[in-house]
Symmetry: C2
Subunit: 282 residues, 2 copies
């Protein structure tokens, strides 16, 4: 019988479920899932084997993927420590890395098995029902090592992501958290805040929904994201988000003044710059 | 020979070109286009007949569609007046209606031929190359009549939009401009402003583009829109845009304070409300 690698997914939702579907395509893998709630375990059992207990799930694992909410990672990390073997590699997929890395550096020995990761993959829909085996394909995955992460373990993590078609990148946690505050966390906050203004106006002008086009839908799509997940993220990366929010509000105050004065050359240059910057992205 | 309706499109870009493609599917229509610039006329001639002069284009027209930028509508309206027959219906497709309606009410006789319209259809890309014969299908089209618009003319406009698969809605111009300030104009401004913050950060952290995912791309997609078109729109609807921008900045200042204090219950309720509001849209 060929050697089978045991890969365990803790938290089989959108991200964990998509990992499961991607890994199911590979050979010689024993895939085991676990969810905290019974109802979620039942749902997960439709796409992978679910262990009878948490301990059974992680027993003898080669790789453990922590795919539960950002706020739960530190807790789960502590819980699994006593069950690991020297060969185990543990990775998470949470969106904020500073706190997780700090906790990993604090707990002695953690660097020998835990490699913090953040794949730039997701949807505004959450739950295993939206899982997609191609979710990670060609997506960047940030790996933010601990202070004492052994090179061999790091390369094992790199290889894991490459094998499911993702593009791993190594980055320090501080830079990572700054980058995603700007490209992901603050936009989520802004889209959600915009829905607040919209709701308020809708109370006195219910026909407003007729004026909603594809532009508005795209702009606010991420406001439909999971509230618990985003509460965790905002709490864990508040200072970085606040830094960019402050800059953004300054910009908006400037626009507010220009809307009163109305200089055509100002708006032309404003929109041209934005257009050029946005064109570079696609 | 059956009677052929002459339909003229002034400004054959994304919106005008898409109208041309939609109208080409119908029988008994003589379709004629006109663009201000020679190069644009040349491009337009690939999808419809282009007249040798502006006067030739509109001569004897049954319907004239003004599809040039918002800022040019009043000027073109004045220019065509002397060339119209009693049967002609003129419509525009510009995004701000207050100014156009005011101008239409001011010029005597205009109500007998001009019906201001605004189809909720578009793309962040502009130009005839992106024209699409299905662009208007099932899209709302706001019709904002003048004070003295005859019912028969209004119904002719309604029929025109229905026949190309759109859904016409009659609304007063003030309410229209308020609605689209909230659902379209301010989001364009906000997305463009966000690209400014992004560009500034990119100068000191060039790797930021690696952290750009689908959420960021959707949130900022409309920042790629045509700068001249959006300068016109912002200039023409500045007070309404400013009204909502003021509300939005107030909300953001509140969030900024909460990012410092950090109450979990606040964020949970904030994201839950946004989630519920956004779910209603799709």
């Amino acid at each position: 019988m060929p050697f089978k690698q045991k890969i365990v997914i803790i938290g089989v939702g959108l991200l964990g479920g998509s990992l499961a579907l991607a890994l199911k395509k590979k050979r010689n893998i024993q895939l085991v899932g676990w969810n905290h709630r019974f109802s979620s375990r039942k749902k997960a059992s439709r796409i992978l084997d679910v262990a009878p207990t948490f301990e059974k799930a992680i027993e003898g694992a080669d790789i453990i993927l922590l795919c539960s909410h950002s706020g739960s990672i530190s807790k789960v990390l502590k819980k699994i420590t006593t069950h690991l073997t020297p060969k185990t590699l543990v990775m998470d997929v949470s969106s904020v890395k500073g706190e997780v890395v700090k906790e990993g550096n604090r707990l002695s020995g953690t660097a020998n098995y835990f490699v913090p990761c953040h794949p730039m993959a997701g949807k505004e829909k959450s739950g295993i029902a939206f899982a997609d085996g191609d979710l990670y394909k060609k997506k960047f995955v940030f790996i933010t090592p601990l202070n004492r992460t052994p090179e061999k373990l790091l390369q094992k993590a790199v290889l894991f992501w490459k094998e499911i078609g993702a593009v791993p990148l190594i980055l320090n946690a501080t830079q990572h958290d700054q980058n995603v505050a700007l490209t992901s966390h603050l936009p989520h906050l802004l889209a959600a805040a915009y829905m607040g203004v919209y709701e308020k106006f809708q109370k006195r002008a219910p026909s407003i929904h007729q004026a909603v086009g594809s532009g508005f839908k795209d702009f606010t799509r991420i406001a439909g994201s999971n509230p618990v997940m985003w509460t965790d993220i905002v709490e864990m990366n508040a200072p970085e988000i606040r830094h960019f929010l402050r800059q953004y509000v300054q910009t908006l105050n400037f626009l507010k003044r220009n809307l009163r004065k109305g200089r055509r050359s100002y708006w032309l240059s404003f929109f041209k710059k934005a257009h050029a910057a946005r064109e570079k992205l696609t």
